[in-house]
Symmetry: D2
Subunit: 343 residues, 4 copies
Amino acid sequence: MVKVGIIGATGYTGVELLRLLLRHSDVTVQVVTSRTEVGRRLDALFPTLRGHTELVFTDPDSTELMGCDLVFFATPHNVAMRSVPRLLEAGVRVIDLSADYRLQDSKVWSQWYGEDHVSPDLCAGAVYGLPEVNRAAIADASLVACPGCYPTAVQLGFLPLLKAGVVELQSLIASCASGVSGAGRQGKIPSLLTEASESFRAYGVMGHRHLPEIEQGLTQMADTPVQLTFVPHLAPMNRGILATLFAQLKEDAGDCQALFESTYANEPFVDVLPEGEQPDTRYVRGNNRCQLSVTVPQGRRTVVVTAAIDNLTKGASGQAVQAMNIMLGLPELRGLELISVTP
Amino acid sequence: MVKVGIIGATGYTGVELLRLLLRHSDVTVQVVTSRTEVGRRLDALFPTLRGHTELVFTDPDSTELMGCDLVFFATPHNVAMRSVPRLLEAGVRVIDLSADYRLQDSKVWSQWYGEDHVSPDLCAGAVYGLPEVNRAAIADASLVACPGCYPTAVQLGFLPLLKAGVVELQSLIASCASGVSGAGRQGKIPSLLTEASESFRAYGVMGHRHLPEIEQGLTQMADTPVQLTFVPHLAPMNRGILATLFAQLKEDAGDCQALFESTYANEPFVDVLPEGEQPDTRYVRGNNRCQLSVTVPQGRRTVVVTAAIDNLTKGASGQAVQAMNIMLGLPELRGLELISVTP
Amino acid sequence: MVKVGIIGATGYTGVELLRLLLRHSDVTVQVVTSRTEVGRRLDALFPTLRGHTELVFTDPDSTELMGCDLVFFATPHNVAMRSVPRLLEAGVRVIDLSADYRLQDSKVWSQWYGEDHVSPDLCAGAVYGLPEVNRAAIADASLVACPGCYPTAVQLGFLPLLKAGVVELQSLIASCASGVSGAGRQGKIPSLLTEASESFRAYGVMGHRHLPEIEQGLTQMADTPVQLTFVPHLAPMNRGILATLFAQLKEDAGDCQALFESTYANEPFVDVLPEGEQPDTRYVRGNNRCQLSVTVPQGRRTVVVTAAIDNLTKGASGQAVQAMNIMLGLPELRGLELISVTP
Amino acid sequence: MVKVGIIGATGYTGVELLRLLLRHSDVTVQVVTSRTEVGRRLDALFPTLRGHTELVFTDPDSTELMGCDLVFFATPHNVAMRSVPRLLEAGVRVIDLSADYRLQDSKVWSQWYGEDHVSPDLCAGAVYGLPEVNRAAIADASLVACPGCYPTAVQLGFLPLLKAGVVELQSLIASCASGVSGAGRQGKIPSLLTEASESFRAYGVMGHRHLPEIEQGLTQMADTPVQLTFVPHLAPMNRGILATLFAQLKEDAGDCQALFESTYANEPFVDVLPEGEQPDTRYVRGNNRCQLSVTVPQGRRTVVVTAAIDNLTKGASGQAVQAMNIMLGLPELRGLELISVTP
C-alpha cells in the first residue's frame, strides 16, 4: 500500500480527495493536516466520512508527512509554494491542487496573485497535471500541478480544434458556469444559499486568475500565442462546470465530430457524446469524466463546443487521483470507476 | 377603467400578467379564459391570487372578449393566429405574448414552427413590442407582438453596439441561461426538480426558435444582415435570463460604457450598471428592468455585454403591460414600479 | 407623511422593511443606519433598490433618528435594548423586530440570551406585536416588540384551539421548517448553498430561543401554563416557514374547520384554507399572509394544524408594517396588498 | 456470479438499483425490462450509466427473466402482484420494491390502493424486508417486500422505544419530509422545479398509503396495536427523508441515548449519532445508512427522535441490495460501502 498524506483537508477539494482515497484499493491515507482543526476527528467535521475513517487532523508541521510516499496539497494558493521544496528534498512526491505551480513563469504568477512566488525555481519544472496532454511527463514527475477547474474544461474542449489547427486563434471565447463549491468552504456572503440560489451572474469578467493558465495551455497546444475571452458565471448549484466554447472555423475545417471522436478515442475520462446530444453537469457529478459535444450551428463558421465536468472531481481531486494513478503505475481508472448518483 | 381580457391564463406568463394587472390602477381584468379550466376560480389554480380576485375561467369562445378594450394572448404559439383576426375586426386591440406575429415574414415563421401560418397577412403589420426600439409604433398599434424572452435580453444588450456601428456583424455570439419557467407550466420530465436542479446544460444549439426573431431585430438595428450564434442554457432556478454577449470591436470603437449610458439615458426599464458591476437575475426577479453591463476584458478586441431580465416580466408579461401602458397613453411605469423580493 | 427611520438595515429584515416602506403611500423613510456601512448608498448594498431610493446609510448615533415619528430596529438582539430608552424619552415610537422586548420577564430573557437585560423596566410594558391577539394595545403602544418568525406561525396555528379550550395543554408539539434567510445575512458556513441545499435537518432540539416566547403567548391564550415541544428544521430554500402542529383533542371538541374559520373571519392577514387544501410557503412568499389548514386525520384524537408564513414578511418586516399601520390609524392592509410572485 | 434481472428500470429506484448492482462484485445484471423503452440502451435514457453498461431494455414478457437467480421489481404498485407468482413458480427469488406485498392483509391493501389484490395468497407469506427487524426471515425468503421510504425511517426511529416499551402507544407522531424524487420520474406539474423549489408543504395529511404499513410494523414491534399520526411534507431537494418522531415517555423511561446505542450496536447501516448531534439528509445521500438521534427536550415527557435516510437508497434500492446480500449469504455491506458525495 502506498502511503499518502493530505495537507489542508478542511475544504471541498479535501473532502473530495478523502472520498476517493479512503476507498482506493492501493493507497492508505496516512496523515491529514489542518492548522485549525488539530486533534479533531475528520468525521466530526465531515459526517459523510463516519464509519470510513478514524483519522484525526494533525498539525501541518508534523514530521509524519515526511514518511509519506506522496502528499497532496488541498490548500488555497500561497501555501504549497512554502512547503513543497522541503517535501521534495525529502523524496516525497507532491500533487498540488492549488494554483501555486500551474504557471511556468513565476512572474506571470506574481502579477495575477499579487505577491512574490516563494519557490519560483520549481515553477518551470512542475508538470502540469492534465493527463490528456501530459501523461508521460506526469508518470515521472516529482511535482505535479493539478489544473484548475475551468482550465480543465476549457482546455479539453478546445484541444482537438487547436491540435488540428482548424480555428482562428485570436478570438477564442469561453463562456463558463460553475457551481458554488468553486468558491470554497468559507463563510462568504455571496456564497450563502440566500444569495446564490435563484441567481445567475457573471464575475471576474475583467480578468479571472484562470485566464493566464488557460492561455498558457492553449498556446502550447496551438504552438502559437492565442487570445481567449473568458467569462465565468456562478450557477445556483453545488457542483459542476459547463464550458461553452466558441471559435471561428477556418475554411475546410472538416468534420468536427469525427475530429473529437478520434482525438479522444483512447482517453478513459473523456466522453465525446453522439452528435446532437448535450452534456449536463448532472451527468458527471462526483465523477471524473469530461463530457464533450461539438456543433456547428446552421452550418456557419462558428463552432460551439460544450464541456461538462465536476469541478471538484475532474476539475480537482479526481484529476489528482488520476495523476497519482499514473505516477504510481496503476490503471488510470483505479478508484475512479464510480457511477454518478442520479437524481 | 380600461377593460382587458386574458386568453389562456393557466401558464406562467398568464399568472404573471394577472399579478401585474390585478394591482394596476387603470385597468380591470374583465375576462380570463382557459379551454381546460372553464368554471374554476382563478385562485383555486393559483393560490397566490387568493384574496385578490373572484374571477372564474371562462370559455375562450365566449363573446365577453369582444367587450374588452384590449386582449392579451398568454397562449402557446399557434393559438393567437387563429383568433386575432376576429378580435381586430371587432375593434379590440391585441397584445400577443406568443410567437405568432413576431416574425414579419410568415414563410420564415412556417419554417421554424413547422406549420402554415393561418393569418399571414397580419404578420408584416404587427408591431414588434420592444418599447426601446418601437415606442411610437406601439402607441398606435392595434396588434402588438411581444418579444420573446431571450430576444429581449439579447437585443437590448447588442442595441447600442449595433446602432453605433462599432462591432463586426458576422460573428456575434449570445451565450444565454434561462430559469426553468421558460419551459412553461407543463408536466415534462426535463423540467422536474429532480432533473433540472443540480444541472446546467445547453440546448437547442443546432437552432432555437428565438434565433430568427433575434436576427430579424439585430438586422434592423444594424441596417445590414447580421449573423448570430445563439446558445441557450437551462439554469437550475425558477426565473431569470442572463445573456452574455460577445462581439469583435472595430478599431476606434470608443468608450463602450459611455455609449451604453447615453443610449439608455431615458429608458425607464433599462439600467446600465456602473463600470465593474455585474447584473444578476436575482436583482430583477419579478421586476420589469433589464440590467446591463459592458466590459472590454484585457483591453482587447472582444467586447462582453451581460444583460439580466426576468424572463416572465421584462421577457414576457411585464413587457406586455409596458406596451399596454404605451398603447393607452399611460405613464410607462404604471403598475410596474415593484421592488424585487430579496432574498 | 409620517417620518420613519430604520436602525440596522443591512440584513434581510432590513431590506424587506425597505421593500415595503419605500412603496408605502403614507410614510417617508427618513434615515437608515448601519454602523458598518456609513456613507454607502443603500442600493449599492442592495441592487434591488436601484431606482427606488437615493438614501445613504448613516451612523446609528446620528441625531436624525430623533426627528422621526417612528423608528424600526432591524438589528440582532442586544442592540435595541441599549438605544430604545433614549428614543422613547424623545417621544419617538419604536417597533423592535429583534428579540429584546419579546419576553415580559427580563430574567427569563437573560436565561435564554445569556446576558443581563440593559433596560429590563421596559420589558413588561412593551406590547407584543401580534395584531391577531393584541390589536388594541398595539394601536396605543409606544414600544412594540415584533414577534419572532416561528412564534408567529405557531401561535396563529394554535390560537383557535387554545382559546376554545379543546386540546390538552401538556403535550403540544410544533414541528417547523424555515428557509435559510432565517439565519440572517452573515457569512456562516452552515448557511452556504453548498451546505444548506440538498439538506434537511433539525436544529436547536434541546431548546431554541423561540420556545419561551411561544410558551408565553400560548399560556396567555390558554390562561393556563402550557408545555410545547418545539423542533425547528432548516429547509433548502430562501424564505418561508411551515409550522406543523399537533395536539390531543379533548372529547366533544367539535368542528375544527368551523372553529378556525370563525376565529379568523375578520382577520385581513389570516387565510383559513378550504378543507382538504394545504398551505405552501410558496403561496405566501413576500406576502404578509398566514395560511392555515386544520385536519383530524383518520377521525382520531390528534389534530394537525399547518401554518405557512413568509419568515421575513408576516414573520418579521411585514408584521412590523402591519403594526405600524395600526399605530398610525391607517388601514391595516396599506402597503401590504402585494401579490406573491409565482413561480 | 449471481444473475439478476430488474423489471421496470426507467424510474428513480431503477436507476439507483443499476448504480449499485453494476458495481457489485458478486452479481451480473442480466436483463432489464421496460414496456415503453424496449430496444433502447440503458445509457441513452440514463447518461450517468455511459461506460458502465451496454445493456438494452427488453420486454417484460421476455423469458430471459426466468433464467435469473433473482429478480427485482422497480415498478409502480399493481405490477408486481401480476407477475410474481409466475416467477416464484419458476424458482426465481423476488425482491419487490413496490407496495404490492408490504401489507400482510390483502384486504387492507385493497382499501388503501383502491383495487383488488391479484395474488392475495402471497401477501401473508412475503417477508417484509427490513433487515433490522427480519434478518433471519429475509435470508430464507423467496419473496421479499421492500419497505417504503417513510416506513423505513419511521420504524427504525421508533423501534428502540417500542421494543423497550417506554412510550405511550396511542399518540405517536411522525412529521416527515421527503425530497421530490419520492414522487417518481413522471411529468407531473407539482414535481416541476418551478412548483417544488422554494416551497415546503404537507400532503396526504388525511391519510397516506404508508400509514397502514407503518402501523403494521410498529404494532408488531410493540406487540400491541399502536396509533400513529403521520404527516409527510415535500421538501425542495432531490433526495432524502428526515423523519421527526414524537412520543410521550412513560415514567422511568431510562436513558434513551444508551437505549438507542445498544439496540443498534451491531447494525451495519444504522448510525446512532453522539448526543447533541443531528442527522442531515445530506450526510446519507446515495448511501444506505440511517442516521438517528434521540433527544428529550427540556427533560420533559416528550421524546424526539430524528431519522435521516436517502429515500432511494436505504428507503428503496439500497435496502433491496442489502436484502439481496442477506438472501445470497454475502456480507451485508457488499456493494454498499460508498461514501456520500459532499457537497
